[in-house]
Amino acid sequence: MVGDSDPWKLWLDEHGAALVLLARQWVASHNDAEDVVQEAFVRFWRSRHRVAEPVAYLYACVKHCGLDWQRAGKRRSKREEASARPEAERLFAGPIEQDERRIAVEAALLNLPEKQREVLVLRIWGGLTFSQIAEALAISIDTAASRYRYALARLHEELAEETIP
């Protein structure tokens, strides 16, 4: 049913992980984030021909669906269940010897203001340019770059504190 030659599968392979990471801003569990990405991706795929910048549109769809999901308060029970076992809800994959650093980065990332975090996710893990970020979030390029710098500065500060024994 799902063939490797399907064009939509290439898109999902390339952006799926970053999309789920972005969706985690508005939902607590990985499963809920995948539900958001599913809804957003289908919406994107049906109307991708109408937009000039499809990559930015894809991430914008995820943001809209994530916000809708958050407003609707769907899967509240799942969220509560996920918060009860945070070890199952890691954001990043990696070798176990780097778990301490990974956990520190995840915590610092979750402490960022939402507007800075979404720019960082789009830039670092989504690989979007500032122009694409600006279009996806409906902000100016300068604002996108500014938020990115603030996010890095704050992360740098928090992670530097983490390394102090």
Binding site: M1, A17, L21, H30, A93
Partner: protein, 144 residues
């Protein structure tokens, strides 16, 4: 641009977000397949909508053409037809005035004529007049 944070950017970039589960791909595939099975109905609806739109457009254009082709001509004002009192018509004040202007005899003749028309054919005409003619008045007085 971000010299102090280059190493941080590199470190963040090395972290890989958790991969999506195979179940997500299957669910997306199902949703897209449903979309494709629903789509064949769309050409019909599109054709129907297109036909309706074309019909509306044609109606508007025809109506507009008719509006454009209608040139109102000069308004013809029909002159009032003169009132002609024919013999069968009931007497009017104007007819009596005209008769009086001609002569008193003409007026009397007209009165008699109309009175004869309104009376039943076998009825006797009453010789009553409000005013007697001057020659009759003189005759009744024995002056003539």
């Amino acid at each position: 641009m971000n010299q102090p944070y280059d190493s941080l950017e590199a470190e963040l970039g090395e972290l890989r977000p958790c991969e999506v589960s195979p179940g997500l791909k299957w669910r997306v595939a199902e949703c897209l397949a449903e979309t494709q099975t629903i789509r064949p109905a769309r050409p019909w609806s599109a054709a129907l909508a297109g036909g309706l739109a074309a019909a509306c457009l044609a109606a508007v254009l025809l109506g507009w053409r008719n509006d454009q082709g209608f040139e109102p001509g000069p308004i013809e004002i029909q002159p009032f037809a003169p009132v002609v009192a024919n013999g069968d018509a009931k007497p009017t004040v104007q007819v009596y005035r005209r008769a009086l202007a001609r002569s008193s005899n003409a007026l009397h003749a007209l009165l008699d004529k109309h009175a004869a028309r309104t009376l039943p054919p076998d009825s006797e005409r009453a010789q009553i007049r409000a005013f007697m003619r001057s020659d009759e008045l003189y005759a009744s007085n024995g002056e003539l």
